[in-house]
């Protein structure tokens, strides 16, 4: 069953002294409950825009988004968006613990103390026990992104929308975060939509990969990875199926010059 549906979603931006620029053209996509789906595309193809529309942070120019069957007009309570720029999405004046408590402290019936308790639980889940009293700037980039993940988890979402959350950290930290993300996804029965330009990341983590074209972007392909679960983010990279998919998707990304020349799967 689809928990998140995009139906003929279009987005155009006003262009200076000309007709509006069409960024995405009638994108339809149904994300199944509990799946890990990646949206893969070249830089500037509007992947993040698509995710923001799905998160209710930006209205589409045309088309509809539904979460759990309801049309999205603002950020739905089921979904939480995790930003690429972890350094900018955390509140610099709050400690790590209070940054995570941010996700729940405004909810009715939750005291400040309770919010902090819940925050500590999530910090433990991302292996940041003992860092609650630090300020974000005292942590490395990878750790800051884990704070952002803990904050998203604290909201107890059904859907996590991840906007290139692993792109700004070094390769080793990235693998570490991949493992963590897979573990969290498996344990919590989350639905994850990940936006990335990293083919290996998309294949290693996902059940399905949606490949976007350049602007105006459409979905060129929708590939089932068919890789086994539970999965190790490192070991999976040595399987023949992984290599095959990696080759296929890289090929598609590199040779796809003209927009919209793919066949929708």
């Amino acid at each position: 069953m689809a928990i998140l549906e995009l139906e003929a979603v279009e987005k155009s931006f006003p262009a200076r002294g000309g007709p509006a620029m069409l960024a995405m053209d009638r994108i339809s996509l149904a994300v199944r409950e509990g799946e890990f789906l990646s949206i893969l595309g070249p830089s500037g193809c509007g992947k993040s825009t698509l995710l923001q529309i799905a998160a209710g942070l930006m209205p589409p120019s045309a088309g509809t988004v539904r979460v759990a069957g309801r049309p999205v007009t603002g950020p739905p309570p089921e979904a939480v968006y995790v930003f690429q720029q972890y350094g900018r999405s955390l509140l610099p004046w709050r400690t790590v613990r209070d940054n995570v408590a941010f996700a729940v402290e405004h909810r009715p019936g939750i005291s400040k103390a309770r919010a902090r308790e819940l925050a500590d639980v999530q910090l433990a889940a991302v292996a940041l026990t003992g860092f609650g009293d630090h300020f974000p700037w005292q942590l490395s980039g990878g750790m800051q992104q884990r704070v952002a993940l803990a904050r998203a988890l604290a909201a107890e979402p059904k859907i996590m929308l991840l906007d290139e959350p692993f792109s700004a950290v070094d390769a080793l930290t990235r693998l570490d975060l991949h493992r963590l993300m897979l573990e969290l996804w498996e344990k919590r029965g989350l639905t994850v939509v990940l936006v990335t330009h990293d083919v290996e990341e998309a294949v290693a983590l996902s059940d399905r990969v949606a490949l976007l074209t350049k602007r105006p972007s459409t979905i060129a392909r929708l590939v089932e990875t068919g890789l086994p679960r539970p999965r190790d983010a490192v070991e999976v990279r040595e399987t023949p199926r992984f290599l095959e998919l990696r080759h296929e998707l890289l090929d598609a990304l590199l040779t796809r010059h003209a927009p919209g020349d793919g066949h929708a799967a």
Binding site: L57, P75, F83, P92, R94
Partner: protein, 255 residues
């Protein structure tokens, strides 16, 4: 840290002491007319008496009351209007011409007309101070709120924060460095306008005394009150710097 800081202050303090000594010498040597500029040692004696007798307290508290009340009221109004103008376009369009009209006007010039309406009591003085304080705070709040990172606001939205809550807990703290910079400018203005309004109304406080002593030709007393006023300014700045550092402690080592 402490001794280092003292060491850094030392040359400046030594220079100040040297100037005072030179002044003392120049007055005693008859290079400066003693009637117009008494030697620092004579001023010091008056100053000591004013402090030890407790005579300083009345005028000091009168002036400080104006400064604090006007500063508080003006800051609240400035923050509220600045945030409203930054957040809500109709408020900006409505208020911008008015603000741009009054902002460059030296607020000291508004004391005489305010006297017509509010008399010469504390209401008028506090209003004058508040008016002077409002504008730098308003303009800085406007800039600070406008500059709040879109990502922070989206983070609040995706976590289900309502607008009012996001304003209070995200936008205002994020804009705080700007707001405090505006308040720091305003604090100096507050003291200026408080002293000026006391002079113009001929009532109470340090400003009045400085003018009154000058007119009575109690020159040493005039200088003594002037020194007290300078120390008040210094103390207010130090207090504000301390409060600012505490409020922005999280900024300490952000590059």
């Amino acid at each position: 840290m402490r001794p280092e800081r003292l060491l850094r202050l030392l040359p400046g303090l030594a220079f100040l002491a040297l100037l005072l000594l030179a002044l003392e010498g120049a007055v005693n040597a008859g290079l400066i007319r003693r009637a117009l500029m008494p030697p620092p040692s004579a001023i010091w004696e008056v100053l000591r008496d004013l402090v030890l007798s407790g005579e300083v307290l009345g005028p000091l508290s009168a002036t400080l009351r104006l400064v604090f009340a006007g500063f508080a009221i003006g800051s609240v109004i400035g923050i509220a209007l600045g945030a409203a103008m930054a957040w809500w376009a109709p408020a900006y369009r409505l208020l911008e011409p008015l603000v741009e009209m009054i902002r460059p006007l030296p607020k000291s010039a508004l004391v005489p007309p305010l006297m017509l309406f509010l008399g010469i009591g504390d209401t008028m003085k506090i209003t004058s101070v508040a008016l002077a304080v409002t504008f730098p705070v308003l303009v800085n709040t406007l800039q600070g709120v406008r500059g709040v990172d879109r990502v922070l606001l989206d983070a609040a939205r995706t976590h289900g924060w309502g607008t009012a809550r996001a304003l209070w807990h995200v936008v205002l703290p994020a804009a705080l460095p700007f707001i405090l910079a505006g308040m720091r400018t305003s604090l100096g203005l507050a003291l200026i306008i408080a002293v000026l309004s006391e002079m113009l109304t001929g009532q109470g406080g340090l400003g009045f005394l400085i003018l009154d002593m000058q007119r009575s030709f109690l020159i040493r007393q005039m200088y003594a009150w002037l020194v007290i006023l300078a120390l008040v300014g210094l103390a207010l700045n130090a207090l504000f710097a301390w409060a600012e550092a505490r409020a922005l402690h999280w900024q300490a080592r952000t590059p």
